[in-house]
């Protein structure tokens, strides 16, 4: 207990860059830090530098709405995210840092019979893979979320829902900090305010990176740069089939406990949860246009408010405290792009769109394994970049209208 009151540094202060590392990880978000952590923990590879152009967690990792779930539609996706949820469950203990993971349960509302079919499909796929997930009717929804407006006098009445009890929310910053601390303790160097400006290659292989703080030689570069993925991959001459869009979210002023489950409605283009601080956290879909400008828009607040009130009319008097925006790297099939590229030694974790936070631990373990063994783990094989030239897509689109 005493330890709690003792001030202990989380990580070493940023040091000088070395001239060479075995592995350079670009991006100090959840994925980059997880990859570095598991490289050290699982494979004893500690000569690793994480280069982050701003502060750690400054990207989507510190802006996302933290929904963690595995009730995906494709068997490939569901199996993959399921392992991530399992890892998250043990992560607080492993990192000795409470990530405040609350498995509140996750309800995806169906407002049409078409949506019910998708929900059924997901439930069936999930059950076959041993994931807790089932279709629930209005009675059960009313029990799980008595606050929800279930009347039929609305334009889009709720007809049923997909219920995923293990779905939850987590404290995003804690994930970043916890991973950073443990990676640092195992010898990984974390370099905030260090931007990668070039990737050196020779004979189709990566040989190093250029940064605003000088050049570094290395054998492998892992790009975990989410919304900036195409820019960084371009530095290596690897085109990615990704477009960057913005995704927005907002919180209300903190309210006393109101909502004990996560509500997602693709029909309404919103999802709602309540954080441990009491704020009602509301997110939506990506904006339809591509941009790197992280400014928040007003129409987003208007339409989200409109849609939220269709589900929770009693939130009429709740006040918006803060809105923000993050970048999302959208892939054509709403599945990630993971692993090797045509440039040897240049690996990517990209295409995370609106749903990548939940994947951080599994991305970290599998990419670390790939770096260490030079073999692509079976779990991530379906997400290879190559699938866009062979057209073997893994479509999560049906489930991803609002996918977080």
């Amino acid at each position: 207990m005493k330890d709690i009151f003792r001030t202990r540094r989380m990580w070493r202060p940023r040091g000088e860059l070395k001239r060479r590392y075995d592995v350079v990880v670009v991006g100090g978000g959840a994925h980059g830090l997880a990859t570095a952590y598991y490289l050290a923990r699982n494979h004893g590879i500690t000569d690793v530098a994480v280069l982050e152009k701003s502060y750690i967690g400054s990207g989507a990792a510190g802006r996302n709405t933290t929904i963690i779930r595995s009730n995906y539609r494709t068997p490939e996706g569901a199996a993959f995210y399921q392992q991530s949820v399992e890892l998250y469950k043990g992560l607080s203990r492993e990192l000795d840092f409470n990530l405040l993971f609350s498995q509140l349960g996750h309800l995806t509302l169906a407002h049409s019979d078409r949506a019910l079919i998708t929900a059924t499909e997901r439930a069936e796929v999930n059950q076959l893979l041993g994931i807790e997930s089932r279709l629930v009717g209005l009675d059960e929804i009313a029990k799980l979320c008595p606050e929800l407006d279930l009347s039929t006098e609305v334009t889009w009445p709720v007809l049923g829902a997909l219920y995923h009890p293990p779905g939850g929310i987590i404290r995003h910053d804690a994930v970043v900090w916890g991973l950073a601390r443990s990676a640092d303790r195992r010898g990984v160097e974390i370099h905030p305010y260090t931007e990668v400006t070039g990737i050196e290659r020779a004979n189709g292989r990566v040989t190093g990176v250029r940064t605003n703080r000088g050049e570094i030689a290395c054998d492998a570069v892992v790009s975990a740069t989410a919304g900036w993925s195409t820019l960084v991959a371009d530095l290596a001459g690897v085109p990615l089939p990704i477009t960057t869009h913005i995704l927005q979210a907002f919180v209300t002023e903190p309210l006393k406990p109101f909502l004990d489950v996560i509500i997602v409605s693709s029909q309404m283009h919103v999802y709602v949860s309540q954080t441990d601080r009491g704020e009602i956290l509301i997110g939506a879909e990506i904006e339809p246009y591509t941009t790197y400008r992280g400014t928040s828009t007003f129409p987003f607040l208007e339409y989200s408010a409109r849609h939220v009130l269709e589900l929770f009319p009693q939130l009429e008097s709740a006040r918006v405290l803060r809105q923000w925006t993050g970048l999302c790297d959208i892939s054509p099939d709403f599945s990630p792009i993971l692993g090797v590229t045509e440039v040897a030694g240049f690996l990517v974790s990209a295409g995370w769109g609106t749903y990548g936070f939940k994947a951080a631990p599994i991305v970290g373990t599998t990419l670390a394994e790939l770096v260490a063994t030079k073999r692509t783990p079976a779990l991530i094989a379906p997400f290879a970049l190559e699938r866009f030239s062979t057209d073997t897509l893994v479509s999560e689109l049906a489930a991803a209208a609002v996918s977080h």
């Binding site: 203990r93 409470n98 405040l100 993971f101 609350s102 929900a119 109101f258 008097s317 099939d333």
Partner: protein
């Protein structure tokens, strides 16, 4: 207790009113705010703090701090100091267990609850793992401030107005009013928005300036959009010129006891005295850079000014405020202790620059004045008055002050110790420290804590404010309710023009998108029998309908669809599947050629809007000579299907309806039942059928006549459910149900649609590739042994793994079989292949049927 009338006071003492606070009646005058009335009644504790439940009193009286947040008429988070007192209002305290004066949760502040020290909860309750959910429950219950009624409804009506003006002045500060006057004098159209705090707005209307108050600018958004919260109306302003005159804000000093009840900011004092004629306290100490006006205010109120410390002259080294039960009792300054019940303190004023920052201004620290100032304002945005950076603040840390907690951030109960600890732990950038300590993240939006936290941060890291900089100013500038944002806008339910008829027939309705459609009129099986044996009518008005015309109309569709249309003769129809640029199925429908340059395109009901957008998008890209008119709502449509359809139609029209006169896939224009109609001979349900499109207002007449004149032919209305069974018997797909975002026409069994020899069309490259690659899965019909019908979405299972999926399934009365469509691996797609489908958790055998279950040759359709 009121003072005698003050010059310029807001009160109308001739108009008393009452409201209740925690059930007790409170007297007020028109012009009071809820807080001023409560203050007049002797209340000093207005809230309990977020974490420690410490008593808090009025601090700023300008709506800028968390100290007076209350629950008013059920709405949480109301700043009582700026909320006008309304007769009958029901006011409650929030975030207390018990009462404001005796809050049981105050114990948290004493013993140190789950939130202390900073970062505490990240380090605790990790083991045992099972304990965390329980702990979390406690945590959740303690968090939060206000309450909403869990089962409340929408109660208020909000509107949205779109407004334009030449000059929009935000803030009625002196600078704002001056700017407004100048603009008006120059003949410009001016609107001035003020929170209702300004006392300088008199006489502006005479100058032609429109004053909107009380109202708050929510932010400055892209394109210069300034949404303004004006109570029940959201005004969305666009202006040629935006003048920000939001003034500056008193900044609290940071010292032990700085959050005690009785510690106030100068502006708060001013308002209490001058606007509401209240005596803020009996005996006051003043510590501020500009003391005279404060002393004047206090004297005017008859408050004894016990001691004055002018920070500009000789800043003290140490300040410690002490209290009893959370109320201020004395202040010790550099060793000298003064008993008092009021401490007016400030370190100076900081420009309220947030709106400017949102608009794109750069925020820079000015060491000379000790404040952050806006620089490089974007075009068309100006700063007037003290927001531009004319104020100043003293660097106010009191390193010598020992003792209890000093709060940097009142909203979040963050102390200097918390910030120090965060830095020591390695949260060594402002953004990280902010997230770790949550300083500036509360309801005040950093108004009263940003400057102090940056200063503290700079000192602790041996840096300076300029190097540390600011954090991003995130909108909204003032908290805005969801109700106001939502306005009245909502998506209305859509009814077809035959809706009333369906109701009269006792139809069971269902939701199909925003549409209400007929599920059935009682017995869907019976309805399918009528279609197979006699004739049925169904309302298909929800189909999307577009008229595409112009010299390039055909060429336009040629480029959009994989189908060929150049050879489509006027008067003929073709089934078309619309693809995305990745060759995936987007929608389907019929394309009829009305004339050389005019085509009639129908889409699915749910796809109507998307297809229209898609057409318009490509039209804009290609710039072809085409016009697209959406007639979805203008035309109703009824499908007449069944062996007796020809006979029925023949009775209502002059048209030659003989098999040769009106062939399958013919399109005709002719009156039916005296109504001008467009007739399409097509057959989604697999029987001889005509889709009759007529002007919506005449639909009821057409419908009535069909039912009347077909009575002896056994006519029967049928609903969506019967239609789904009928089309399934034919293995006709429903886009969006049988297809998903990865489905393409080739794998879906319609390769004949795709004309890869056409020059180019949307998605051609992808379809070429798909054809080369061969299918990964195929859409096939299946029938099940036994009567069970799998749920749509059920899985085709191979070796225990999901390998395919059922997209449609029904019991067919006609075939006396359970039938469906499913995507299966190519190896299982051949006629007669055996499948296993998971149904209620166990596997059911099924057989693939590659051809339509009913009338595979299509003779009935073509008859």
């Amino acid at each position: 207790m009121r003072l005698p009338a003050q010059p310029g006071e807001r009160l109308d003492r001739t108009r008393p009113l009452t409201f209740t606070f925690e059930g007790a009646t409170v007297e007020a005058f028109e012009g009071d705010t809820i807080a001023s009335a409560l203050y007049a009644g002797g209340r000093r504790v207005f809230s309990r703090s977020f974490k420690y439940h410490r008593p808090r009193g009025l601090l700023c009286c300008t709506g800028s701090c968390p100290n007076c947040l209350m629950q008013v008429d059920g709405a949480p988070g109301i700043r009582a100091c700026i909320e006008p007192a309304r007769a009958g209002a029901v006011v409650r305290a929030q975030n207390v267990l018990g009462s404001l004066d005796r809050d049981a949760l105050a114990v948290i502040g004493k013993i140190g609850g789950p939130f202390t020290p900073v970062g505490f909860y990240y380090r605790t309750m990790i083991r045992p793992r099972w304990a965390w959910p329980y702990y979390e429950k406690v945590l959740r219950n303690l968090a939060g401030l206000g309450r909403v009624d869990r089962h409340g409804r929408r109660t208020r009506r909000f509107d949205t107005e779109h407004r334009r003006t030449q000059v929009l002045v935000i803030g009625g500060s002196e600078g704002g009013v001056t700017a407004a006057r100048a603009a008006a004098a120059a003949g410009e159209q001016v609107v001035l928005v003020d929170e209702g705090l300004s006392l300088e707005l008199g006489g502006l209307d005479e100058l032609g300036i429109e004053v909107v108050a009380p109202a708050r600018a929510i932010g400055i958004y892209e394109g210069g959009l300034v949404p303004v919260d004006a109570g029940n109306v959201l005004l969305r302003f666009r202006a040629e010129r935006i003048v920000v005159a939001t003034g500056s804000l008193d900044q609290p000093l940071v010292f032990p006891g700085n959050d005690l009840v009785g510690v106030m900011l100068p502006n708060g004092i001013r308002r209490l005295v001058r606007e509401w004629a209240l005596r803020p306290g009996e005996r006051a100490v003043v510590i501020a850079p500009a003391v005279e006006p404060i002393v004047d205010d206090l004297r005017a109120a008859g408050t004894e000014v016990a001691r004055v410390f002018d920070l500009n002259e000789r800043p003290p080294k140490e300040i410690v405020a002490r209290g009893r039960k959370g109320r201020l009792a004395s202040v010790r300054v550099d060793g000298e202790t003064v008993a008092c019940d009021l401490l007016v303190m400030s370190s100076g004023r900081q420009p309220a620059y947030s709106l400017l920052a949102q608009a794109g201004a750069r925020i820079e620290y000015d060491a000379a004045t000790g404040i952050f100032v806006p620089r490089d304002l974007p075009a068309n945005v100006e700063a007037a008055g003290s927001v531009a950076g004319t104020s100043h603040a003293v660097p106010n840390l009191f390193p010598a002050s020992a003792g209890k907690r000093r709060f940097v951030c009142l909203c979040e109960d963050v102390t200097t110790k918390d910030v120090r600890r965060a830095i020591a732990e390695g949260f060594d950038s402002l953004e990280l420290a902010k997230r770790y300590t949550t300083v500036t993240m509360g309801p005040c939006q950093g108004r009263l804590c940003h400057l102090a936290s940056v200063r503290l941060y700079a000192r602790e890291t041996g840096s300076d404010e300029a190097a540390i900089g600011t954090t991003t100013a995130r909108p909204p500038w003032s908290p805005v309710t969801l109700g106001l944002l939502a306005g009245r806008g909502h998506e209305p339910v859509k009814h077809t023009s035959l809706h009333r008829r369906h109701e009269e027939l006792g139809a069971r309705m269902m939701w199909a998108g925003a549409w209400r459609r007929v599920h059935s009129y009682g017995d869907p099986a019976e309805e399918t029998r009528a279609v197979h044996r006699a004739v049925g009518v169904i309302d298909v008005s929800t189909l999307g309908k577009l008229v595409v015309s112009g010299p390039d109309a055909v060429a336009f569709l040629e480029r959009l669809y994989p189908n060929r249309f150049v050879d489509l003769k006027p008067g003929r129809i073709r089934y078309g599947v619309l693809g995305t640029d990745a060759g995936r199925i987007m929608d389907d429908g019929t394309i009829g050629r009305l004339s050389e340059q005019q085509l009639y395109v129908t889409t699915t009901s749910t796809g109507a809007e998307a297809v229209l957008e898609w057409f318009e998008w490509w039209n804009a890209v290609w710039r072809m000579d085409v016009e697209i008119v959406d007639v979805t709502g203008a035309l109703a449509a009824v499908n007449v299907a069944g062996p007796n359809a020809r006979e029925l139609l023949g009775r209502l029209t002059e048209l030659d309806v003989s098999p040769d006169g009106f062939r399958y896939l013919d399109l005709k224009e002719a009156p039916v039942a005296g109504t001008p109609c467009l007739l399409l001979r097509i057959g989604f349900v697999g029987e001889l059928g005509y889709e009759i499109h007529c002007p919506s207002p005449l639909a009821e007449h057409l419908w009535d006549t069909l039912l009347e004149r077909g009575a002896d032919l056994g006519v029967r209305p049928f609903g969506l459910e019967a239609q789904r069974i009928l089309r399934l018997e034919k293995q006709h797909i429903i886009v969006g149900q049988d297809t998903d975002s990865e489905s393409n026409a080739i794998d879906a069994g319609m390769p004949w649609i795709v004309k890869l020899d056409k020059e180019d069309f949307v998605g051609k490259w992808a379809l070429e590739h798909l054809q080369e690659r061969g299918p990964r899965e195929r859409l096939v019909g299946f029938e099940l042994d036994g009567a069970a019908v799998p749920a749509e979405g059920s899985q085709v299972v191979v070796a225990g793994r999901p390998a395919g999926r059922v997209t449609s399934a029904r019991w067919s009365d006609e075939l006396q079989r359970s039938i469906g469509l499913a995507w299966v691996p190519p190896a299982l797609a051949e006629e007669g292949s055996r499948l296993e489908i998971r149904l209620n958790g166990s596997l059911q055998p099924a057989v693939v049927r590659a051809r339509p279950f009913f009338d595979p040759e299509g003779t009935r359709l073509r008859s």
